[in-house]
Structures are given as C-alpha cells and as structure tokens.
C-alpha cells in the first residue's frame, strides 16, 4: 500500500494547505494524474500522484494545512483495493500510525515564524484544530494551565468568529464557511460588476512585455536574499504599475460627481481569490513608497489575512486602482471589469515563454500580457497607451523599481 503525501514544492516549503481533492476515495489513478490542489506561500499548485492505484480514504480534508510529508491518503494497489472496496472497508485510521517519521522536528506547522519574545503556549492538538478551523492562535487567549491555548479555546474562538462574521456579512463580505456568507459576497460582487458594466464605458489596451530582463535581475537578486525575503515576480509587476501611475496619474482615482478625481495616495487593490469561491480586492497602501522587500511582505500578509478573514476596513474602502493577476491559473490575458468608482484596472496573465521577434531575429523570451481596462469618461486610449509604455519602461529597469 502506498502513501500519497504532502509534497515539497520547493526547498523553503514547510507546510501546505490542501485546497481541494480532485479525486475521491475509490477513484483509480495513474502515475502523473493530478489528484489535488495545494496552496503554499507561493501560490496554488496542482499535485500529481507518482504511482498507479486506487485512492483510499482522505486522511486530510480540504482546507487543512499540514507539514510536508504528511500522508494525505493511502494508495491501494489495484487488485487488493478492489477487494477491500467490495467489503466496504477502508484502510485503518492512520492518524495514530507512522507519524514519527513523517514529522521531522523542523516541520511544526506554525502559521508564521514566531515574533513574540515568549513562545506561545498552545497544545499541539489545539494548534492543529486552529489550522483546520482557520483560527489564528495568536489571537486566542488560552485558558489552560499557564495560560496555554487548548482545544476548547480554539473551538470558542471559531464559534465567536463565525457569529461575528455572519453579522458582518451584510455590510462587508469576508470569507467564511457559512453558505449565507458566500451568497452575500456573490451578491456584492454582482451588484458592483453590474453597475460597472452599466455605467462605465470601458476601453481595453493590451501589451506584451518582455520579462527576460526583470526576471533575470529578480533571479540574481533572490540568490542574495534569505529564503523568507525572496521576491515573487508579482512584486515587480505591482511596483512597475505604481511607478507608471506616477507618470500617468489620471488612472489612479475615482469618477465621482461626473468628474475625475485624481488621488495622490496610491492604494493598489490586489485581487485575492478565496477558496470556496469569491474574490476580495483589499488595498496595499502607498505602494509607491514601499521598497520591494516591504511590498513583498505586505502582499504576503494581505493574502494571508484576506483568506483568514482578518482584513482592516481601510483596506477594503480606499482602493484607488485594482491589479489582478490570473497567471497562476494559466490565463494568458485578462480583460477586467473596473470596480466603481475606480477608473482603471490593470490585469496580468501568466508569465510564459513565447516566440519573440526583435532586431530581425526570432528568439524565445519570457513574456507577460498586460491589459489595461480604463474608464473612457476619465481617460482616453492615448493616455492609456502611455501608461502601458511607462510600465514596460519601468519593468525593464528592475534595479530601479
């Protein structure tokens, strides 16, 4: 009997969240099939299986975050599994079995590196429960011995969060498991997008940008950085947008009272997809004033807090322009719908290798398709083109970003 484990998707990965099972117990799998999606700090990954067999009972449920190496499901050999299936049996529960080997000391599934001077006293079981229920243990007050956080504290915190989230659902959509909340968010998105399409005369401009130079620089830069401070390409794109907006400020603002109000502050809304469906675009404040390292941190923090449902209200209300990046999902180009009263949305597709002609030569370059959706009431295509051109120019000088 084989074991399907949480894979290591890079040397710096300690744990991953099983986002979705794409197979169910009893399904027959071939080596190379994609059986689950796993989310790490770097994004969402499709995970392949490395042996033929029949998927056994899921030992880790969707939504759980577990250390690398944790058995996610057993893989039964074809013949034996068929017999077991017929008898209605599943492999014995493995929660108690074979854990010592898979849990190397360094792989304690803490959500983030401890920052407080005193180590948080939280029972292992409570910590795991917190991960399952999406509770941040650092926000929980322990009632156990020496103030330790125990299962009961996590359960109560989760209950509290669920009831307050439900109360907030009407005004502001935050992620939660409750179906009503999902519906609330869907309705909010529906209202905003309908209004956008009804009121905003969109125009779209598209440009393919050669990313060889910025990515080459990024790779060199990352080599010099400690793992935790390494940069993702998205940071370059975001920072590039911020710089380009300084050149073409008319895209950063609101259309209110029949006129364009350009905003000095640059709060870029960053679209974050929620598991379970839905979308939130919280703002990263003052992107123009953040260095790349700070921006990377801010972005990671924002994504994490968005998914944990711990956003600050300012982040939800003062966005001046939105950036969306669907590259993770393999999309080549995105034609966005502007979030009113904003006047522009910048969208990136996947960075991928493509044939690239330059100077009479054909080569292979890593490129990204950037799309600007802008409000024709506020700006014209000419200004929009200048924005994309500026974006390209800034991206080609990554060391100055």
């Amino acid at each position: 009997m084989g074991e399907f484990r949480m894979p290591s998707l890079g040397a710096d990965m300690e744990a991953g969240r099983l986002v979705e099972w794409l197979v169910k117990p009893g399904d027959r799998c071939r080596r190379g099939d994609i059986v689950a999606t796993v989310e790490t700090q770097k994004g969402l990954f499709e995970v392949e299986i490395f042996e033929d067999g029949i998927i056994g009972e899921a030992l880790v449920q969707a939504g759980q975050r577990v250390p690398v190496g944790t058995v996610l499901a057993m893989i039964n050999p074809e013949g034996a599994a068929a017999a077991a299936e017929k008898a209605g049996t599943v492999p014995p529960p493995v929660t108690v079995k074979a854990e010592p080997e898979q849990l190397k000391p360094a792989e304690v599934p803490s959500e983030r590196p401890p920052v407080r001077a005193e180590r948080l006293a939280c029972s292992p079981s409570a910590r795991r429960l917190a991960a399952e229920l999406g509770v941040n243990v650092e926000d929980v007050r322990g009632t156990g011995p020496h103030g330790a956080i125990q299962r009961i504290d996590i359960e109560q915190a989760a209950q509290k969060a669920a009831s307050s989230a439900e109360a907030a659902a009407a005004s502001r959509p935050l992620p939660a498991a409750a179906g009503t909340l999902q519906q609330g968010m869907r309705q909010a998105i529906a209202a905003a997008m309908s209004r956008s399409n009804r009121e905003i005369p969109h125009y779209y401009l598209e440009m393919e940008i050669d990313m060889s130079r910025p990515l080459h620089w990024l790779e060199g830069e990352n080599l010099k950085r400690p793992i935790r401070e390494r940069l993702l390409p998205a940071v370059l794109l975001l920072k590039g947008v911020a710089k380009a907006l300084r050149d073409v400020p008319e895209l950063n603002g609101y259309w209110l009272d029949e006129r364009l109000q350009v905003k000095q502050e640059l709060h870029i809304g960053f679209a974050v997809a929620l598991r379970g469906g839905g979308l939130i675009t919280p703002a990263i404040h003052h992107v123009d004033k953040l260095g790349l390292t700070e921006l990377m941190k801010a972005m990671g923090d924002l994504v994490e807090r968005t998914r944990a449902g711990r956003l600050r209200s300012s982040e939800m209300t003062d966005t001046t322009i939105t950036v969306t990046n669907l590259g993770d999902l393999g999309v080549r180009a995105v034609y966005g719908v502007i979030y009113p009263p904003q006047v522009a949305l910048v969208a990136f597709g996947r960075i991928m290798e493509r044939p690239w002609a330059e100077g009479g030569m054909l080569g292979v370059r890593r490129t990204v398709t950037v799309t600007l959706a802008a409000d024709h009431r506020a700006t014209d295509g000419h200004r929009g083109s200048q924005f994309l051109e500026a974006l390209n120019r800034h991206l080609q000088l990554p060391e100055e970003l």
Partner: protein, 331 residues
C-alpha cells in the same frame, strides 16, 4: 436462551485452574519453585496440586532463584514446558542473570537454533505491608528486555487464560501476578479459557481522557473513573495487559479521541514503563495532545512497611481523580 454459565471464584483460584489445565493438557508441563509443593505455594496458589499431580510435576526447590530458574531454562531447552514460580519480583533479581543473559538471549546467540519455551510466574506489587523486601513493582524493568514477553493479568479472565497462551509461545514469557489481586472475587465463565496475550483492552469507554494502566492499578482507575463520572467527566480506562511488546495502537487510538492521557503505574517514575509509554505518545500522537501527558507513579522510595506510609507511596484513587479533574479543566 439461558445466561452464560458462570462460577464465582477468586483470582487465586483462576491461576490455579490455569495451572491445572496446563498440567492435564500437556504432559511436558510441570511447576517448580519455592514452597509450591508441600506448603501449597506462598500465596496458596498451588495448594492441592502436589497431591493431584505428584512430586515429579509439582517440584519444591531450594532457596536459590538462580539455580531453579536456570534449571527451568535447561528443561525448556530439553523439550519440557516448565512453569517456574518465583516468590516475589524482588527475589527474581537473584535470577536476573539467568532470565536476561540466558532465557532472553539464547535464541539470538544460537543463531535461532534454540528457543526457550519457559513461563515464569511471579508475585509483584505493594499494598499488603510486605515492605521493601517483597513489595516492589519491577515489571517495567523486565519489559525493557528484548526476547521476553511480559504479561500482567489484572482480571479473573486473564489470570485464567494467559498461562495457556504463554505456554504456547516458543519464547520465554513472564507473568506478573499482583499479590493484592489473589483475593479478588468475581464471576468467571464456566468455559473460560485461553486469551490473547498481544493486545491492550479498553475496560471502560470514555470521551474526556485516556487513563492507561495495568494490573492492580486498573481497579483504582476504574473506581476513579466512576467517581469522575458523577462529576460529568468520562474517563476511558485502558488495561495494557501485555507490557512487552506494548500494544501502542489501542491507547493511541483512544488518545486520538480524548486528546488527553494519564498513565497510572505502580513502578517508580524514573525510567518506568510509564516513561516509555509517555515517550511513545509523544512520538506518535503529539498532534493529538491537548495537554501534556501526566503520570501517577509510586513514590521513589523503598516501599515502606507502615500502612499509612505504604498507602502514601502508592498511586491512589484520590490522586487519580484530582489529576484528571485538573487535566480536564474542572479542578
């Protein structure tokens, strides 16, 4: 359908029944030890067997544990199925050389040529004011030794059924009979027979905490669980039954449900079987734990003679109740 037929009996009688059955069923079986014959056994377990089976099969030995345990090993190597009785675990240390350096290791040292199908029974435990000469609980030491199987029957069924299973084992088995249990009375099925000697058993199901114990402490834990139930705490009580090899799966599965574990062990705390179990829980069920594993063991002193001091040195119901309440958050 009538109720299953049972007889009222004692732990002592159950052990005797087991020995009688073995003597009758297998002519290679014989009993040997100090005072097992004419005196009828120090705890009267073998009373009457000499008259029934004769001096060839119920053999009194000189007061030399090393000699008669060694003789038992020789007999086992020679094809017999000896049951050797050692009066108390304290005295067994005189035979430790034979038990560990010979019985437990000959199979290994002979390259698998010789097994030692020997069963050693011995009394263990405190509670009868037998003091530091007789009353220690050293079964944890024996559970340290590869090559031995170590059993600790706590119930009439196990006292009746473990011996025959032990005799079927091709390798040496030690059965520890807690001397406070010999007078334990209860109903035993008329057809009671051999029992498995591999697995631990849940003696009382519960949801709030797992209490792991064995031998005479089982009854203290069950009493404590009954008292706790009145306060709304449901303790699951597990009787280990076999101390080597330990049945990890049973208690780990229980902890996966209760997320709390308390081990009650009459041995001294340092280096005890409870320490081993605690380590295994940490290794294999760390992420199930909601509170550190707790242990209640004997005080680390030679067992006192005075009754009140002996009681103070041993795990007691009150301590178990108080510890569980503290662990479950009611205390």
């Amino acid at each position: 359908m009538s109720e299953q037929a049972t007889n009222s009996t004692t732990y002592r009688e159950a052990v005797k029944m087991a020995i009688r059955e073995a003597l009758i069923r297998d002519e290679r079986v014989f009993l040997m030890g100090e005072d097992v014959g004419y005196y009828g056994g120090c705890y009267a377990v073998s009373k009457g067997l000499l008259a029934e089976f004769g001096p060839e099969r119920i053999r009194d030995t000189p007061l030399s544990e090393s000699a008669f345990v060694g003789a038992g090993i020789g007999a086992a190597l020679g094809g017999m199925r000896p049951i050797v009785e050692v009066m108390t675990v304290n005295f067994s240390l005189l035979a430790l050389d034979q038990i560990m350096n010979n019985a437990a290791t000959i199979q290994h040292m002979s390259g698998g040529q010789f097994n030692v199908p020997l069963v050693i029974r011995m009394a263990t435990g405190a509670g009868k004011q037998l003091a530091a000469q007789h009353a220690h609980s050293l079964e944890g030491w024996y559970a340290h030794i590869p090559g031995l199987r170590v059993l600790s029957p706590a119930t009439l069924e196990d006292a009746r059924g473990m011996l025959w299973s032990a005799l079927q084992d091709p390798d040496p088995v030690i059965i520890f009979e807690n001397n406070t249990l010999y007078n334990l009375e209860g109903a035993l099925a008329a057809d009671a027979g051999a029992v498995d000697i591999d697995s631990a058993m849940v003696r009382r199901p519960g949801t709030d905490i797992t209490i792991i114990t064995y031998s005479a402490s089982l009854y203290k834990c069950l009493d404590a669980a009954a008292a706790l139930a009145k306060e709304g705490i449901e303790a699951e009580v597990i009787d280990l039954r076999t101390l080597r090899p330990l049945d990890d799966a049973t208690y780990l599965a229980s902890i996966a449900r209760t997320h709390r574990a308390l081990i009650v062990d009459e041995g001294w705390r340092s280096g005890s079987i409870s320490a081993e179990i605690s380590a295994r829980i940490m290794e294999q069920a760390f992420y199930e734990l909601d509170i550190p594993v707790a242990r209640i063991c004997s005080a680390e002193v030679p067992m006192p003679y005075a009754r009140h001091m002996e009681e103070a040195a041993l795990p007691q119901v009150d301590a178990i109740v108080a510890t569980v309440k503290r662990m479950v958050g009611h205390g």
